[in-house]
Symmetry: C2
Subunit: 446 residues, 2 copies
């Protein structure tokens, strides 16, 4: 199925008008960045790039699409002729999926004709804004869980396709597993889950339900013990499954206190290896509040899939440079009126890493070279530090229309998850604090 | 493409365990409702039902799906045999799409075997939670705009498929149009859009850009006048397009003051019929703040597609009754432990309408009849009012596996939009206030 109509109408009317003015083939560079992080957030996590590559591979104005656009009168015949079966011939570079970002990090750039580059605005932003918002929230939850495994269980609280992308983004940011089967099938994310309250209510008693579940799934399963009374539920669970019961799950109640009571009860019943999983409307703050409690695993739903208060990453897609054939090079461009001011010119990202392995700054390399791409950083004395190193953040995703397949599919997810783990290990410790604060790294233009 | 894997893994493990315990074919009734509205909200709008019917028609465990589940070891062979190509044979009823809802309104119910009904939990909740969150926010924006047309322009700020559903939900709740072309193609929502800042920056001057756009799209187009300097932009726009210029768009700045200045300037230039469209990070509050200003149309993005602070509707899918073959009827069931308490038994909704045509109460009819479906309200004296009437809110979507096609496709959207307009016209005036408050109608069990 083509993804070509996942596009705002004005992208196509702009192409129509640019064809008429002779500017449609002018080479342009668009960049994706955010002017600021959500209030109080210290870093963001890039996600969605692999999905975007898949969508780009399927971005084609096929005959049926062109026919619909003609019937609706969206653009004229000349524009439809131009769009029909045209393929992207430009280049894309940007941050690796899983990488951290800060205000004005040049997360993605698209260089090509105006017509082909502007057409990708909506698709690129939809994908990156959604997935990065989820990954950014997920990374904070992972930090709050302090090593305990997290599962994503929010499919029911977001759009059914967004749910699959959310499970993928959370896994990249460190979640161990998801409840969503499609995320397992499509992206290779491990899936988990055993039973809901409905299963207990289906049976004529909690004991009948537990016996049924243990008979089918074995004593290593997780029994949900809060349908009626938690203390009786735990007692019944251990009586039915034995002391080798895998886990009990708590989905309601005052968790810090309840978890301690359940741990004591399990231990007193001899179920000392039985784990406790909690899933009661958790977010990064309630996870952190359970740090001292004997919780073995967390399941997170609503807060994760809605970005924990920041459901979109705030990325914009801005024209930053146009080719100037007469002057023989590129010219930076930017909106100049009140508010929403952008910085023109092509940019690339580098991270300054101290001798101790901890990141010091987000360097945005701006160089208005003839080919529109910055190629050399200008060193700044105030950033010099013995033993410091530079990590290039900008990689190539497509060159002259050839998409790099490495970042797609299951492999892309594995790669992104590993990349994220390495990038977050470089973050200064205060960057992982949940309290509101400034970005963990300053963005420095060079 | 099948939608069967848009399902949480535990739905399938519950089916496996229920097959083993002999309870998988027990007839069950699940209901979708929310315990509360988002903080301060006075009503919600049901949306997504038509999309859910489409997804149900494609919900099938086909050979490829079963093979993947087997390979992953999600459930055993007996369960896979049961799922393979099984078709939903149950019944679905619920509120019409576009209808208003309140705490505990029985928005949707699914009656069938445990196995077939529990399998739909995730898909039903994903669809209804997302679309209803967007429609609920959209309805507040429509009220705030006080008759001025609104366009949905938020595709870039949400998942690319969620964007299409959001455009559909907003249209049902009264938005006139969307920027999203796929929403036009798939759901018949009118599409709109002309140009972005990139189009101006592509050209060597604002005047060159405006001339190109007017040449291609005619003087009736909308010119974006805030790329450099608004006053000069408006002057150039009218000089280029003439006084028949369709509209100018403002996407930044201090809107209430700016809009008045632009209106005066347009009038002084003779462009008295040129409309003003504003699109600067609007939500229901900033729209309301522009009520006195000469704004002709609003474009809303981020706030709409993220539910304006409430990105999910809070619907849950709960088992409320099970068939009790021995007792020869149905038995209400409900979770009983601390927090998240539900009310068992089958329910239907009715709205009490006063003689003046204004709604008075949300009636939830609870009747534990032998077939699991309430059939007669119990009148309450305190709700008696001369000339009052009752409107049934619960309609049939599927009977014994037959899905009613009337609520699907473009027709379904048109029907839902009309239904919403009629339902909102019944709401007490204070229900449309933006300030935080109690639900506009009390929910009364009968």
């Amino acid at each position: 199925m083509t993804t070509a109509l996942r596009t705002d109408r004005y992208e196509l009317t702009m192409i129509e008008a640019a064809l008429a003015s002779g500017r449609a083939d002018r080479r342009c560079r668009f960049e994706v960045f955010t002017r600021r992080l959500p209030a109080g957030r210290r870093f963001g996590v890039v996600a969605g790039t692999g999905r975007l590559m898949d969508a780009l591979a399927d971005f084609r104005f096929d005959a049926a699409t062109v026919e619909w656009l003609a019937r609706e009168g969206v653009v004229n015949t000349a524009t439809l002729d131009r769009l029909h079966d045209s393929a992207f011939s430009g280049s894309i570079e940007g941050y690796a999926e899983g990488e951290l970002f800060f205000p004005n990090s040049p997360v993605l750039s698209v260089t090509g004709t105006f017509a082909e580059a502007v057409a990708l605005e909506t698709l690129a932003l939809s994908t990156l804004n959604h997935d990065s918002a989820i990954a950014s929230a997920a990374a904070r939850m992972v930090a709050a869980a302090d090593g305990s495994p997290l599962s994503e269980m929010g499919s029911r609280r977001t759009h059914e396709e967004a749910a699959i992308a959310a499970a993928r983004a959370a896994h990249i940011a460190g979640f161990a597993a998801t409840s969503n089967l499609a995320a397992g099938e499509r992206w290779g994310v491990p899936t988990m889950g055993t039973a809901a309250h409905a299963f207990t209510l289906l049976h004529d008693s909690e004991e009948e339900a537990f016996r049924a579940q243990v008979a089918a799934l074995g004593p290593g399963t997780t029994l949900l013990v809060d349908t009626y009374d938690v203390e009786r539920g735990v007692e019944t669970a251990v009586r039915v499954a034995g002391t080798e019961l895998g886990a009990v799950r708590l989905d309601s109640g005052d968790l810090p206190q309840l978890v301690r009571q359940v741990r004591e009860q399990l231990d007193s019943l001899g179920a000392v290896n039985t784990r406790i999983t909690v899933t009661n409307d958790l977010d990064e703050y309630t996870i952190a509040a359970l740090r001292g409690a004997p919780v073995d695993a967390f399941g997170v739903g609503t807060a994760l899939v809605t970005g924990s208060g920041a459901p979109t990453a705030g990325f914009v897609y801005k024209l930053v440079a146009v080719e100037d054939a007469e002057a023989g090079g590129w010219r930076p461009v930017a909106k100049a009126s009140a508010g929403k001011v952008s910085r023109g010119a092509a940019k690339r990202g580098r991270r300054l890493i101290g001798a101790d392995g901890v990141a010091r700054a987000e360097l945005v390399i701006v160089d208005e070279t003839r080919d529109g791409v910055p190629d050399a950083p200008v060193d700044r004395d105030d950033l010099r530090e013995a033993g410091a190193s530079i990590r290039d953040l900008t990689i190539s995703y497509a060159t002259d229309g050839d998409l790099d397949a490495r970042y797609r599919g299951h492999d892309g997810v594995r790669h992104a998850r590993a990349h994220h783990a390495a990038a977050i290990a470089e973050l200064p410790a205060e960057g992982l604090r949940l309290g509101a604060g400034e970005p963990a790294l300053p963005t420095v233009y060079q």
